[in-house]
């Protein structure tokens, strides 16, 4: 192969390898939460804590809280810990019995996005 041919092939390989790269997807998943996923509580928690595997971007933590399928109003605003690895969602006056779901959507510090839903139930004994 000539040097020119080699160059063409390598350029093509470079472009191909970059185009073929699968789309980045989520990996800063939820490692822990309070209450934990699937828990049944006797008392409503004052706040929900989400702990992520890696630091997340503070400006892009989006959270939607639903109780029995209805969005909670006013929408709780998450507070990020100093290490940006956990977010606290105050439930405030909205806390009460029912099936709760917390949809979270974050961007990890390396730019990858991730999302999921934390569910728990509050059922007074």
């Amino acid at each position: 192969m000539t040097a020119r041919g080699l160059r063409a092939v390598s350029a093509a390989a470079l472009v191909a390898s970059m185009v073929l790269a699968p789309a980045a997807h989520a990996h800063s998943w939820l490692v822990k939460s309070e209450p934990r996923a699937g828990a049944t509580l006797a008392q409503p928690p004052a706040e929900v804590v989400l702990v992520f595997a890696e630091a997340v971007e503070p400006a892009f933590v989006k959270i939607a809280v639903h109780r029995d399928g209805k969005p909670v109003q006013p929408a709780p605003v998450p507070v990020l810990a100093a290490d940006a690895k956990s977010a606290t969602v105050p439930l405030g006056a909205a806390a009460g019995p029912g099936a709760w779901s917390i949809d979270w959507r974050i961007v990890a510090r390396d730019g990858h996005r991730s999302n999921g839903t934390l569910r728990f139930v509050v059922k007074p004994r």
Binding site: L14, M18, H27, W29, E57, F60, G111
Partner: protein, 625 residues
């Protein structure tokens, strides 16, 4: 794709700018220097475009409506902007011959941006890992920087534009290139080990596969570099063949960079779900534990094949080199054909699946209820495979208390519980249980299996020998705050005290009066009526076990060699204490009816202090096999 392009372009600029002031040394016949600076400027321009493209793509991911406003709000965005600024500064510096070297240094520093915006640094795991990732990229960049200029210098030398013999130039490069490449490989290995995480990810995730492509290209780079070194060692030789080897090395380097750029954009194997592609996996240890008798003959045969092949090779070495290699090769091939199937065990797509439940009392309790409902008919109430419905089956239900249950991966158990066992009467429960419920069943199976192994737990702490994972438990303190045993992770040891008889509360009072030391917390587990009799004491946490889940889960760890309770009919023990180290392993146990307490309060304190001095030896993940 912007990442790889920016990297290559910046690296080339580094090379040209570093070369520019060396025109005299090279004996350039006319002003090649300004031409090289122009090439560098062009490369830096391309790099700026590539970075801008990346920044825009990143912004679109964040907020499609205002990408340029969103991008600077993230770490990656800010790194890219800083990288662009440094590249721009290098571009300015490339304009005059005097500042060319400064430009080279600036451009080289800009390469750090490639690592700073990648997984290893942004993940914020450890400064060492970040340092390795940055070193990997920057040294690789320096090496890459030399390749393009070398290629063109070779041309210039052939055309007579430089007088310095090309061999001299190559020899100079070669002297620094080898240590540099080894440094790149060492740093890269550190980063790769972290990002691949576990070896199955190497085969069963896109990340692992791209890493394989990258490694193959790296091997090619080393091969062509070795060829060049041999060529240098020979006396006089023509330029031509060396030029071709160099071109090949450049092409392979581009392939390495392309693969690296892809790796930086996809999910690291350590974080990706593994869907195992094959019906088997090679796992000598698991194979040995599961079917050792079947392995002896093939392994002996394989060893014999290697010995015979080796002997044939040695004997024929002098007379028939070809036959010798053939004999040795046949021996190795035969050995592989015999040994590889023997060390293989069955595997399923979910073999390396990760549990979705925490290893805690609530999950085990939920699993116990599900077991009662779905499984006990065949496998028996206590898991011994003696259920009434199983008696008539052609294959007897497995005894789930035997250690082999713990030797399968949890993903294997998940597969069987979901889909059934092919060719056996074990049915699948995928249709009647949820994913979470099947993981709860597995947590229960693990508790059952570990409970039988817990017989080996003693009353003395064996130094540096953690093996039994503590079961997480939760409690609410007087102020209404929730706590978990796992919250102590990395900080404090715990003495878990399970009380079934109110008379044993005196022991708790004694512990409160004479605590096991600053490095350990006392956690009392008791049913509500007993817990109510306990007056609050500093240093003692009380987990009120309203539904009995904690007592049931930790109760698996009651078994001792003296009281194995294999029939599950022994009365409850009035009190059991377990010492849990700060990494979440149960290290010793005392039962009220056997060796009731640690020899003395002082001895307990000494044991706690010894545990506090131990480093982390392994992580207590029951779910990792």
């Amino acid at each position: 794709m912007g990442r790889g392009l920016a990297f290559v372009a910046i690296a080339q600029a580094v090379g040209w700018l570093a070369l520019a002031p060396r025109g005299a040394w090279l004996g350039a016949t006319f002003d090649l220097c300004s031409r090289w600076r122009a090439l560098a400027a062009a490369a830096l321009g391309v790099a700026l475009l590539a970075i801008a493209w990346r920044l825009h793509a990143h912004g679109v991911e964040l907020d499609p409506d205002a990408p340029w406003r969103a991008a600077p709000q993230t770490w990656v965005g800010r790194v890219l902007i800083a990288q662009a600024c440094v590249v721009a500064a290098a571009l300015v510096a490339s304009r005059t011959a005097r500042t060319a070297t400064l430009g080279a240094v600036l451009a080289w520093l800009a390469l750090a941006g490639t690592a700073l915006s990648g997984h290893a640094v942004a993940a914020d795991v450890s400064p060492w890992l970040s340092a390795a990732a940055i070193a990997h990229v920057m040294v690789a960049g320096a090496w890459c920087a030399a390749l393009g200029p070398l290629l063109l210098l070779h041309r210039a030398a052939s055309a007579g534009h430089v007088t310095r013999p090309w061999r001299d130039v190559l020899a100079r490069f070669s002297r620094v290139a080898l240590p540099a490449m080894l440094a790149v490989v060492a740093a890269g290995t550190v980063v790769a080990l972290w990002s691949v995480g576990r070896w199955p990810a190497l085969f069963a995730t896109p990340y692992g596969q791209w890493l394989g492509i990258k490694l193959a290209a790296v091997v090619g780079v080393f091969a062509s570099a070795a060829w060049l070194r041999r060529w240098l060692a020979r006396p006089a030789a023509a330029h031509r063949p060396a030029g071709r080897a160099l071109a090949i090395e450049c092409a392979l380097a581009l392939a390495v960079v392309g693969a690296a750029g892809t790796l930086a954009d996809i999910v690291p194997g350590a974080h990706d779900a593994i869907t195992w592609p094959d019906a088997f996996r090679w796992a000598p240890l698991d194979a040995w534990r599961l079917h050792a008798p079947d392995m002896v003959a093939p392994l002996v045969g394989a060893a014999a094949a290697i010995v015979v092949g080796g002997l044939v090779g040695l004997r024929l070495r002098r007379r028939h080199a070809g036959l010798a290699w053939g004999g040795a090769g046949t021996g190795v091939a035969l050995a592989a054909a015999l040994a590889l199937p023997a060390i293989a065990v069955d595997a399923y797509p979910s073999t390396y699946a990760a549990a979705v439940t925490p290893w805690d009392a609530a999950s085990i309790a939920a699993g116990a209820q599900l077991y009662e409902r779905h499984c006990s008919g065949c496998h028996g109430r206590t898991g011994r495979g003696d259920g009434a419905a199983g008696a008539a089956l052609p294959v007897r239900p497995a005894n789930l208390t035997e250690p082999h249950v713990g030797w399968h991966t949890h993903g294997d158990l998940w597969w069987w519980i979901t889909h059934g066992i092919a060719g056996a009467p074990m049915p699948g429960f995928g249709a009647v249980t949820t994913d979470v419920e099947r993981w709860q069943l597995i947590d229960w199976l693990m508790a059952l299996s570990l409970g039988h192994e817990a017989r080996n737990l003693g009353t003395r702490v064996l130094s540096r020998a953690p093996w039994l994972p503590a079961i997480d438990l939760r409690w609410t303190d007087a102020a209404g705050r929730e706590h978990a045993l796992s919250d102590l992770r990395g900080r404090e040891a715990a003495l878990v005290v399970l009380i079934h008889d109110a008379r044993e509360l005196d022991r708790v009072r004694a512990l409160a009066a004479s605590p096991p030391g600053p490095g350990a917390r006392v956690i009392v587990v008791a049913a509500p009526p007993i817990a109510a009799q306990l007056e609050p004491a500093a240093g003692v946490d009380v987990a009120v076990d309203a539904d009995g889940a904690i007592a049931a889960a930790w109760g698996h760890y009651r078994r001792t060699l003296a009281s194995p309770d294999l029939r599950d009919d022994a009365p409850l023990v009035a009190r059991i204490e377990w010492l849990v180290d700060r990494f979440g392993f149960v290290r010793a146990r005392w039962r009220a009816d056997e060796a009731p307490v640690f020899a003395s309060a002082d001895a307990l304190r000494a044991a706690v202090a010894a545990l506090a001095a131990e480093p982390e030896l392994r992580s207590p993940d029951v779910h990792a096999h």
